[in-house]
């Protein structure tokens, strides 16, 4: 199966790979995995007091599409408000990367990673 140029670009030059200090109170983490292919994705967001995502990092073990999806998401969420980030849909990711139907689940995983991180943000806010 041929990957699109954008997938290859993100795969070969992934943006924002790494880990924030999880003890930093402004950092939230979204951990998700896809049982069907064994992909594991960790997305961390650094969110300031105004609810703006200042920085994002990811670590993904999986296929090229999963790495590209998470890499793209870290670029997209930077500078966005929590509400704007929550509105990112897997279809936007799949369209941007021209993912074939069998790889749509990679974009779903990336969307779910944002959601999981934002859930932690919400639960932290309520404390």
């Amino acid at each position: 199966m041929a990957y699109s140029e954008k997938v290859i670009d993100h795969y070969e030059n992934p943006r924002n790979v790494g880990t924030f200090d999880k003890n930093d109170p402004s950092v939230v983490t979204g951990m998700v995995g896809a049982p069907a292919c064994g992909d594991v994705m960790k997305l961390q967001l650094k969110i300031n007091d105004n609810g703006i995502i200042e920085d994002a990092k990811f670590k993904t073990y999986g296929c090229g599409s999963a790495i590209a999806s998470s890499s793209l998401v870290t670029e997209w969420v930077k500078g966005k408000s929590v509400e704007e980030a929550a509105a990112i849909k897997n279809t936007d990711i799949a369209e941007e990367l021209a993912l074939p139907p069998v790889k749509i689940h990679c974009s779903i995983l990336a969307e779910d990673a944002i959601k999981a991180a934002l859930e932690e943000y919400k639960s932290k806010q309520q404390k």
Binding site: T29, M31, V32, G33, P35, C37, V40, K59, Y61, D112
Partner: protein, 174 residues
């Protein structure tokens, strides 16, 4: 299609593999297309589809993950090729650590010992999941089926880890 009925073995997770293999060879003989060389077209086609069914049944029952999926499917829980996202962060964090440990193997000073240690951890964790699964599949409650489905999902992640480890080992000795 209930493969346990096809192979006439007890419908439970702890399958006697020797018994299964014996039943497989017996069944294969009765449906082998060569036996129908002089039969009509329709019978030949039937023999071919029966053979495919017997082969698929054997592959399904032999493999613990596929066997568990089959048992769950018989109870109406279809998790084969599902696209659900797993969100158990404790489990996933452990997966991530293991994947990192695999990635670091290539810089290891004592790769054989490191591989052996990782393999022992994987085996122990996997055995725990299989033990849970075996118990949960005996129970007929719907909640047990959900728990069992969760063990199968985790086993798939463990299978992926094992594949990665095997790939690293193969690359080493090539």
């Amino acid at each position: 299609m209930n493969y346990f009925e096809l192979f006439e073995i007890p419908q439970r997770f702890d399958v006697d593999i020797a018994e299964l293999s014996n039943r497989y060879r017996e069944l294969q003989k009765t449906v082998h297309p060569d036996k129908f060389a002089n039969a009509g077209e329709q019978q030949k086609l039937l023999a071919i589809s029966k053979t495919a069914q017997v082969n698929d049944g054997y592959q399904t029952l032999k493999d613990p993950i596929r066997r568990a999926e089959h048992m769950l499917l018989l109870r109406g829980v279809d998790i084969d090729n599902e696209s659900t996202t797993m969100k158990d962060s404790g489990f996933l964090m452990q997966q991530l650590e293991w994947r990192e440990a695999l990635a670091e193997l290539r810089d290891s000073d004592n790769i054989d010992a490191d591989i052996a240690a990782l393999e022992a951890e994987f085996t122990q964790y996997r055995q725990q999941l299989l033990d849970n699964l075996s118990k949960q599949l005996v129970d007929t409650q719907a909640s047990s089926a959900m728990l069992a489905a969760d063990q199968v999902r985790k086993l798939k992640f463990m299978a992926k880890l094992q594949d990665e480890l095997t790939r690293i080992q193969d690359a080493m000795y090539d």
